[in-house]
Symmetry: C2
Subunit: 425 residues, 2 copies
Amino acid sequence: MNDNPVMTINNYQASLAEGRAAPLDWWHSCAAQIERCEPEVKAWEALALEAPELDAELADKPLFGVPVGIKDIIETVDFPTGWGTDGYLQTSSSLVDASLVTLLRNQGALVMGKTVSTELAYFTPGKTCNPLDTSRTPGGSSSGSAAAVAAGMVPLAFGTQTAGSIIRPASYCGVFGFKPTFDTLSVAGVKSFASSLDTLGWFAGNIEDICTTFSALTRAPHIMAQDDLAGVRVGVHSLPGSLPLEDDVVQALAKAQMQLKKAGAELVPLPLDERYEALIDHQKVVMAYEASQALASEYSRLSDHMSHKLVELIEEGKEVSYLQYRDAMHAAASLRQALTAVFDAQVDVILAASATGEAPEGLESTGDSIYCRAWTLLGVPCLNLPLSAGKAGMPVGVQLIADRWQDQRLLEIASTLMAKERGVV
Amino acid sequence: MNDNPVMTINNYQASLAEGRAAPLDWWHSCAAQIERCEPEVKAWEALALEAPELDAELADKPLFGVPVGIKDIIETVDFPTGWGTDGYLQTSSSLVDASLVTLLRNQGALVMGKTVSTELAYFTPGKTCNPLDTSRTPGGSSSGSAAAVAAGMVPLAFGTQTAGSIIRPASYCGVFGFKPTFDTLSVAGVKSFASSLDTLGWFAGNIEDICTTFSALTRAPHIMAQDDLAGVRVGVHSLPGSLPLEDDVVQALAKAQMQLKKAGAELVPLPLDERYEALIDHQKVVMAYEASQALASEYSRLSDHMSHKLVELIEEGKEVSYLQYRDAMHAAASLRQALTAVFDAQVDVILAASATGEAPEGLESTGDSIYCRAWTLLGVPCLNLPLSAGKAGMPVGVQLIADRWQDQRLLEIASTLMAKERGVV
């Protein structure tokens, strides 16, 4: 796993400040790594082949000189955007960058290129392989971003989650993946799929970079690991027997519980089953209905080019009635309140499965997002921790989840856990 | 006012079905009216000058042959999109239509052209005049859409509301304006300004067309006026003395109360003052913060071309901290719950001011959105009813507001009220 980082963003900034590194060093080493790995991993749709010009005025910014990957459903002025469509929908260059891209550039980050997305960020895979075993999927829809970070091609890459498109690939590729509270980052310039679900997030090889990026993009205070997790209550919810769950995941959850306990946290059993299963269904209704609207024009003009899976979802969404959609949205709002009451009274964070098991073999599917759907609909912040490996030696992650807008607390708890694991604290 | 329609969408469909009208009749009569009024009103950025080709397969759709106007921050494949920027940002033609435009075309509507928006849908006015008095503002940001409907140039036009951009111009121009529950229509292809506030809605000259359009776009059941408003409880909330309110509005609210009572409704006093004022401030924080993110790229590249007002808002938003934003979003979520409790226990709809008075003189300002901000942040459906006139003879509207997802009930109550007013029921 990548929980023992060679280099963090903060270390790099310190090296620059002390003159031990040059501002394009990281860019050059990433470019070299891309040259080595990309032919096999295929994480990129478009790449900057020449070193970028640096803006010296940004030298004191927290992401100065940090190469980043941007999922190919996010618009950029200097790269084409293919929306994961293999060219049937393609924007050669956008008038303006997506909001996120501007925020990143303003913080000194260097856009290395556009990473592979599944088709319009739904389930039909792109060309990317899992860098830990190229016969396996990296997960999706943010396939290229997860794989690029896992292969060390960039320290930081951005994706979106509408069902399980950040947490699942992070789990499969053994990296940290963070989906902040819904509405934390503007989705201006991001292809809309389901507007009440689409959430921008990012991948990194270590928790510190996840936290640095959060503070850089939101200007929230710097997040520090605490001495231990004393006083932290972690909700452990048993999963409904009806849902698929491999032994590898049961063991990863057990291991995480042990690690949390060892770090001082208190484990609190949380019976969430029935409501949890209802949320999964509501998420499907909301996603299908909203996607059928958001992609109405693409469907009208280009459905002949679309994959069968995507056409099926849009047509399913066209059959969802306004009343069904309204009821699912209403139920989601009620359950958000109910969950807030659980967080207020009982727990600080919840521990949950990130995926159903190790990355599946083959590239024809990006795996199952079932353990992410409910949390995405609730809009809560979710963080994949790459803490375990499964029978085949592939990573198996777990998620920590907090209430909406408790992102800082969640990241602080995760930082403390990782510091204890590394023996730093 | 336009509460005595000559022609409704349903009447037109009946005429077509009975062979008393041809499918392009309405288009031609609108084109003729545009030719007469447009030189003075200036409601359009782009117009279709030739009659469109009709798709006979859509002949049984509810909006077949209905000419519509589309606000110029909404993308279309067959018109340029200027985003209200007077050309400093311009998309010559989009790859795909905005979701809304596809939904409209699929229901048989004919896009007549793009209507004038304020700059990026904020406060800096475009060229449009109020058709009832061209020395006055039509309101904004959906200036052209409100004016085009008021001048009879199209029966139906679409806009967006982030603060008060539908309800206020509807009030100033004396037309019906409807902002449905947040998330009812996908904003894919609409310029993002503040993603947790931006809401698509529409203007029409009569309540029936507002309802027909709602059912056509959502596939919700047809909305029927009831015999009377017996059993309907209307919340009447006194306005804080600190907020501006002209006698014209006090009188319009008193008249609406009388009309509602005459139709059988029960009036229920609702003391909302303090929370209402807090919401106005939260809306400003959320809008500024989100706009500074959503328009980050435009600001970086084009701030020299931007109006002073827009630059000011973006720079204000850059000073809003993540914690302030988080707290405003959190407060809004709590107040949504509190309002739902009020609706559940006490009232079916709330009656409120649409604007501070008649349309102000001059075109340099689009007026004050203060009476819309709180409701927009709450995401509730709002409907402007053009029921009164002020001292200068200009329209003064009032809003009816329901809880989220109670759009059908709201429209049913308004339909009943208007039918009673016309003596139809």
